[in-house]
C-alpha cells in the first residue's frame, strides 16, 4: 500500500465485493458521472476483517435526463431494487438513496444518492483516487471517514472501522483534518 497526496496505490487481490464495486463505478465513469464511495466499504477495501451487503456511493447532482441516460446504459446488467420508474429513482436519490444490484440479485447492492449536506459535498469534492492494480476507484478522504464514523455514526461497527483506518494509516493520517471535519459534523448533526 502506497499513500501519496490524493492517491493510494493498493496491490490487493480483488474480492467479489471489489469486482462488484469496480464494475459499477466503471459504468458511472463511462457515463461521465463523478462519484465517491463512502462508509463501510472504504474500511473493507483497506483490509477490515468484515464484509458488507451494501456499498454507499454519492454522485454529483445531475439533471434528470442525464441520470435517465445512465439508467438506460446499465439496464442490461443492473436493476433498481426500489422501483422501475426512473422519475421515482431520481426522487429517491434526492431524498434518501436508491439501491442497485445485479439483475436477479438483491445482494450485494449499491446505495446511490446525491449529496445532501456539506459533509457529503466535501467527500465528493476532495475524493481520493485508489489505484487497484490497473483499475481505479474514488473514495472519501480517510480523515473524513474517520471523523464521520467517530462523531456521527458511533456504532460499535463504525468505531471499529475508524480504529482500523487509524491503525493502517497511522503514518499518513492528518489528525488536525479529522478534528476540523468533526467540528463541521457537530454543526450539521448535533
Amino acid at each position: 500500500m502506497k499513500v501519496s497526496k490524493g492517491k493510494i496505490t493498493l496491490d490487493r487481490e480483488l474480492s467479489e465485493l471489489d469486482r462488484f464495486v469496480v464494475e459499477f463505478t466503471n459504468l458511472l465513469e463511462q457515463s461521465g458521472i463523478k462519484y465517491v464511495i463512502v462508509s463501510g466499504y472504504v474500511s473493507i477495501l483497506f483490509g477490515r476483517a468484515r464484509s458488507t451487503e451494501d456499498i454507499d456511493i454519492l454522485i454529483e447532482k445531475i439533471e434528470f435526463d442525464r441520470f435517465s441516460a445512465f439508467l438506460e446504459a446499465i439496464k442490461d446488467k443492473y436493476w433498481c431494487l426500489n422501483t422501475d420508474d426512473p422519475k421515482e429513482i431520481y426522487s429517491l436519490m434526492e431524498n434518501a438513496n436508491a439501491r442497485f444490484s445485479r439483475i436477479g440479485q438483491v445482494i450485494p447492492n449499491i446505495e446511490l444518492k446525491f449529496p445532501s449536506n456539506m459533509i457529503e459535498e466535501t467527500a465528493l469534492k476532495n475524493k481520493v483516487k485508489v489505484v487497484l492494480r490497473k483499475r481505479s476507484i474514488f473514495i472519501s478522504p480517510l480523515e473524513l471517514q474517520i471523523a464521520y464514523k467517530e462523531e456521527a455514526l458511533k456504532s460499535k461497527k463504525d468505531l471499529e472501522d475508524a480504529l482500523h483506518l487509524r491503525e493502517v494509516f497511522k503514518d499518513a493520517i492528518d489528525e488536525k483534518r479529522i478534528e476540523k471535519y468533526k467540528e463541521i459534523i457537530k454543526k450539521i448533526f448535533l
Binding site: 474480492s15 483490509g47 464484509s51
Partner: protein
C-alpha cells in the same frame, strides 16, 4: 503462574490492522477475501433459494 491476557475486540481490530499495515497487500487480502467471498456467496445463494426472504427484503426496501 503468569495470567493470560484476554484480547478484547478492540485489541483484535488493532492487531489485524497492524498485520495489514506490515504485510504485503496480496497476503492480507487473500485472507480477508476468504471472509468476504464466502459471505457474499452464501447471501446470494440464500436469496436465490428463498423466494419469501427475497420478497420480504424487497418489500422492506420499497416501503422505506
Amino acid at each position: 503462574m503468569k495470567k493470560k491476557k484476554i484480547l478484547t475486540r478492540e485489541d483484535f481490530v488493532k492487531y489485524w490492522a497492524n498485520w495489514v499495515r506490515t504485510h504485503p497487500d496480496k497476503e492480507w487480502s487473500r485472507q480477508q477475501n476468504i471472509i468476504i467471498d464466502s459471505q457474499i456467496k452464501s447471501a446470494i445463494e440464500f436469496y436465490r433459494k428463498n423466494r419469501k426472504a427475497r420478497e420480504k427484503f424487497l418489500k422492506m426496501i420499497r416501503e422505506k
